[in-house]
Amino acid sequence: MLTLQSVNSFYGGSHILHDIDFSLETGKILSVLGRNGVGKSTLLKTLMGLTSSMTGKLTLNEVELGEQTTFYRARSGMGYVPQGREIIPDFSVKENILMGRFADQSSKAEIPDIVPELFPYLMDNLDRAGGLLSGGQQQQLAIARAIATNPQVLLLDEPTEGIQPNIVEQIEDCILRLNKELNLTIILVEQNIRFAKRASDEFLILDNGRLVCQGSGNELTDDLANQYLTI
């Protein structure tokens, strides 16, 4: 169970997120929706400890993480796929994936078993530089790296953004499979309402850094989308 209580987040002196409260049960998918610049990516960065500071309470399975550093959160089960992927271009595919293993101190530096099943292309190109992959392949690589951290919660920031349409569906299927097969809790920042509706057990909508609406996945209607998401 992931719980946020009165979470506020800051970049320097700028107050970005205001009093965010929600909880998410293990194995559920939560979509975070909202217009550009409302704080969706900041919410994920806050969960990872990548903003300047935060206040409030953040617990994962009753372990308090709000005061902890980013690396500690990663070792405690938070896996992160950032917007723009941020793979290391001159690392090989293998090195990029194995970066994730630093979060899992208990096991050997080996690629997790599920990665070859999900991303056979990556396994066939382990020695290739990450920077030479296409956008979709880099997204697969970023997800594989996050899986290698052995997460309990996977934070995905617009995983289908800028990906060619035929690959988008593969990535969506892969996210759903991770949720089902590994019972992974997933928080998905998404602009793609179709996928959010398809995947979400729950959703929340942010506006100006505040949580303005939340509910179960089947309550995510076109009316809500029109009210909060159209420009």
């Binding site: 990872m48 980013t70 690396f71 941020e86 690392f91 970066m99 994730g100 630093f102 101190q105 951290t149």
Partner: protein, 297 residues
């Protein structure tokens, strides 16, 4: 002429040892360590002290200087640099302050007013290190005169460059350092303890500076300000080679060392230094990110 090339190689080797530490530290931590030259000086003084008081010869002083300077580096990182991450100019000023502090500490003979420790024979006076006998007598191979100590410097530098390459590219700690150089936030999000790795990186760079100090103590007078100009030379190598690039540091130290040696042979040291600076300016105009850029400056 071969002798000149050989001298240039040995100068380049010292530059390489100095630049390796600077380059890795700046590449991974974004810290311009102005005290790096003083860490070289501390390595040289460690040799003097070890020889005078412990009876160590120069060979035995190498690991000792590495440990002393790495420990000192760890202390500087913990006390000063860790508090100033992401503040480039503040770290520059703070490490300059540390440099002055270290120089003055030595001038004060580890200070009557410093820690109350007095070490005979240090002080403001000049110091020299006695080389082991095996290092003092030149021999010839054909027409080529081999100077054993300069050969030793080249070998030690080559060995440490290979060791550094191995650590950086063949170990998990090296992968962590390279990941931090590229993307510290993602490195942390992958479970890498960035502060701890940075501290170890800084200590390793300081240790290399210490070894450079041992090497220098064998052919230069050991004095408190011997490191001041070295830090500039080290940064010239880093800028020319490309920040964080091991290969860049090796190539740049070779180029600058040879240029210095050859020009000094045909003219004098002052002109050689001017030519080196002119060459550096030309190279950074031609390739602003250095010859082998790993991370932009």
């Amino acid at each position: 002429m071969l002798d000149t090339v050989f001298i240039g190689l040995s100068i380049g080797s010292i530059l390489l040892l100095v630049a390796l530490g600077l380059s890795i530290v700046y590449g991974s931590m974004g810290v311009i360590n102005m005290a790096h030259g003083e860490l070289v000086m501390m390595g040289a003084y460690t040799t003097v002290i070890a020889q005078t008081y412990l009876g160590f010869n120069l060979f035995a002083a190498i690991p000792l200087a590495f440990i002393v300077c790495a420990g000192l580096g760890l202390l500087i990182e913990r006390l000063v640099i860790r508090r100033l991450y992401n503040r480039l100019f503040d770290t520059l000023l703070a490490t300059w302050g540390v440099a002055i502090l270290l120089q003055q500490a030595i001038r004060l003979e580890f200070g009557l007013s410093f820690f109350g420790i007095h070490i005979e024979g240090l002080g403001p006076g000049l110091q020299s290190v006695t080389l082991p006998e095996i290092m003092t007598e030149s021999f010839t191979v054909g027409e080529f005169v081999i100077q054993p100590y300069r050969t030793f410097i080249i070998l030690v530098s080559a060995l440490l460059a290979v060791l550094t390459w191995f650590l950086m590219y063949r170990t998990r700690i090296g992968q962590q350092v390279r990941a931090i150089m590229r993307n510290p936030d993602m490195a942390a999000a992958c479970g890498i303890d960035v502060k701890k790795v940075n501290a170890l990186t800084f200590a390793y760079g300081a240790g290399l500076a210490g070894v450079a100090g041992v090497m220098m103590s064998g052919f230069k007078t050991v004095m408190p300000d011997m490191g001041s100009s070295l830090v500039v030379d080290g940064f010239l190598v880093v800028v020319v080679g490309g920040v964080g690039s091991l290969v860049g540091s090796i190539v740049a130290s070779g180029i600058l060392g040879q240029l210095n040696g050859v020009v000094a042979f045909f003219s004098n040291d002052i002109i050689a230094r001017a030519v080196v600076f002119a060459a550096v300016i030309a190279i950074i105009i031609w390739r602003p990110r250095g010859l082998f850029n790993y991370k932009g400056r």
